[in-house]
């Protein structure tokens, strides 16, 4: 990513707004942008979804193929997640090998899905120690207007939720990917002393610190990632977790119904 010089005027404007409880796009602090989910967008993928979180637009595809299990989990399918921040999505994204930002993004999305045991990987075993189904989640950012973490994570969950295991390739019947949990990540950004949920691009650029909290349908915490150079105190972290639980419930429904 190329460095972006933030205009002082915008920084002051957003800070001033935040200090009086407002946001530049008219939302309240704990209000995410509208989420639209279009599942089964890509026929060449076993599962896919295009999600728009406000003006952030992400396409996620899941490819499922036969491969070898890891030695320590001989009866389990394998999950791998990659992200490409392609230069189409932002004037500040550059082509080339995955940037640390892209790698962090993929790993945070991966962690939320993995730690929640979203997919029952034991049902993805074909021959123990030899053959299992491998899921490749590929995150393709198309239009970047802030908070790729959540958009990508909603995209990944949506794509998994409609994915089909192509068992007919090995002479069996295709079956839906065994999805058992619905982890939802909600990212908060700290602007001055205010904390806003689902930061847009301007907010993200001036934010001091960022916290992504993934909760499951019971409200339990399954993954977290703090980012940027600022910090949160413990009370703020607790607040972000509560927000993630609350906001997550609504968004989970959007994804389940999408």
């Amino acid at each position: 990513m190329t460095a972006v010089v933030i205009s002082e005027l915008m920084r002051e404007h957003i800070n001033r707004l935040a200090a009086s409880g407002k946001r530049s796009d008219g939302r309240v602090f704990d209000e995410p942008r509208s989420l639209t989910v279009h599942k089964n967008y890509i026929k060449t993928a076993e599962g896919s979804a295009r999600v728009q979180l406000g003006n952030t637009d992400v396409l996620v595809g899941v490819k499922i193929d036969v491969g070898e299990p890891y030695a320590d989990t001989p009866n389990q399918g394998v999950l791998t997640t990659s992200a490409e921040l392609i230069p189409m999505a932002s004037p500040n994204f550059e082509s080339g090998p995955p940037s640390p930002t892209a790698i962090e993004l993929a790993r945070v999305v991966d962690r939320g899905i993995r730690e929640t045991k979203t997919v029952n990987t034991e049902k993805l075993c074909i021959t123990p120690k030899e053959k299992v189904w491998i899921m490749f989640i590929d995150i393709h950012a198309l239009d970047y207007d802030g908070n790729l973490f959540d958009a990508a994570s909603y995209g990944a969950l949506s794509a998994l939720s409609c994915a089909i295991v192509p068992a007919s390739k090995i002479g069996k019947a295709d079956y839906p990917l065994p999805l058992e949990h619905w982890p939802i990540s909600v990212t908060s950004a700290k602007i001055g002393s205010s904390i806003v949920v689902d930061p847009n691009l301007d907010e993200e650029r001036i934010a001091d610190a960022r916290l992504t909290v993934t909760t499951d349908e019971n409200g339990d915490v399954r993954a977290m990632q703090k980012g940027l150079k600022g910090s949160f105190n413990l009370e703020e972290v607790r607040g972000a977790i509560r927000t993630s639980q609350r906001v997550g419930r609504t968004l989970r429904e959007v994804i389940q119904q999408g």
């Binding site: 001033r16 060449t44 490819k63 193929d65 230069p87 995955p98």
Partner: protein, 278 residues
């Protein structure tokens, strides 16, 4: 050509009455749909569905060319990056450029360099990004056709749009616009791109086996087809600018942009110099 998984021995790509596997005749295109202005961040963009191909194109620029040593003091660079999403093909593609996509990017860049008025923007680059989201043969033609719409949408000055199409040979018959099976099992494929107004051919590739006479027939098919595709490109652009109009008619514009009362800036509140209207 393509990723061949299995070659059915007696697969008939075109039957005795001249009907292809997907029901088309030798001179028929797959259905094509183009939409202009589909992305927010890019200066111009377009989406195309061409049969089972789904391709996005975006244009940024003219913008400062990076790295700086690439800058041409006399003109703009036209740089295309063609990329396939990992999930766009049957067998997952490893992310990032491979030799094929680098080559396609190069020939598409060159095709556009001949129509863009590059001398108007010295030291800059016009960056074209083509993302194949779902592939079914003919992605470079679809991508180039969409990119051309994205360039116009971005307000880039150029001599004309560029339109692209391929023809090839299947089951001994010269046919238009091969799909993936036809590309995999056919005898030849010949993608081209043309400046419709002048007839200049700005991209031409071919692989397989054609007699000179078959080549002539393939080109004839492609040239006729590009006339129709050209109309679809123009139509997408016209729709974009009239659709903007209709949306605006239904007014109340987007959400509030609240503001506080900051200290006044240290300068007089004057009118700006007046500017000519349209």
């Amino acid at each position: 050509m393509g990723d061949v998984e299995h070659i059915p021995k007696e697969l008939k790509l075109i039957d005795e009455s001249g009907v292809r596997l997907d029901g088309r005749r030798y001179d028929e295109l797959r259905p094509i749909r183009i939409e202009a202005g589909v992305l927010k961040k890019a200066d111009g963009s377009a989406y195309i569905e061409w049969g089972n191909n789904k391709v996005l194109a975006a244009v940024y620029g003219p913008r400062e060319a990076h790295p700086r040593h690439l800058q041409d003091p006399a003109k703009a660079l036209v740089q295309c990056r063609y990329n396939m999403a990992p999930f766009s093909v049957t067998e997952r593609k490893r992310p990032g450029p491979d030799r094929r996509s680098v080559e396609i990017s190069k020939v598409i860049s060159e095709a556009f360099a001949s129509v863009v008025f590059v001398e108007q923007f010295p030291r800059t680059s016009v960056d074209i990004f083509i993302e194949v989201l779902q592939a079914d043969a003919g992605t470079r033609c679809a991508g180039l056709t969409a990119a051309s719409v994205a360039l116009a949408d971005a307000g880039i000055p150029m001599r004309d749009l560029v339109t692209s199409c391929a023809s090839g040979k299947i089951g001994g018959v010269v046919a238009l616009d091969l799909n993936k099976d036809e590309d995999n099992f056919g005898e030849a494929d010949c993608p081209m791109a043309i400046v419709p107004r002048t007839g200049e051919i700005v991209l031409l590739q071919m692989d397989g086996h054609l007699t000179v006479d078959e080549f002539e027939r393939a080109m004839d098919l492609s040239i006729v087809a590009t006339k129709g595709i050209y109309e679809l490109q123009r139509d997408a652009l016209r729709r974009r600018y009239s659709a903007m109009a209709e949306q605006a008619m239904e007014a109340p514009p987007p959400p509030p942009i609240p503001s506080e009362l900051p200290p006044p800036p240290d300068m007089p509140e004057d009118e700006l110099p007046e500017v000519d209207d349209l």
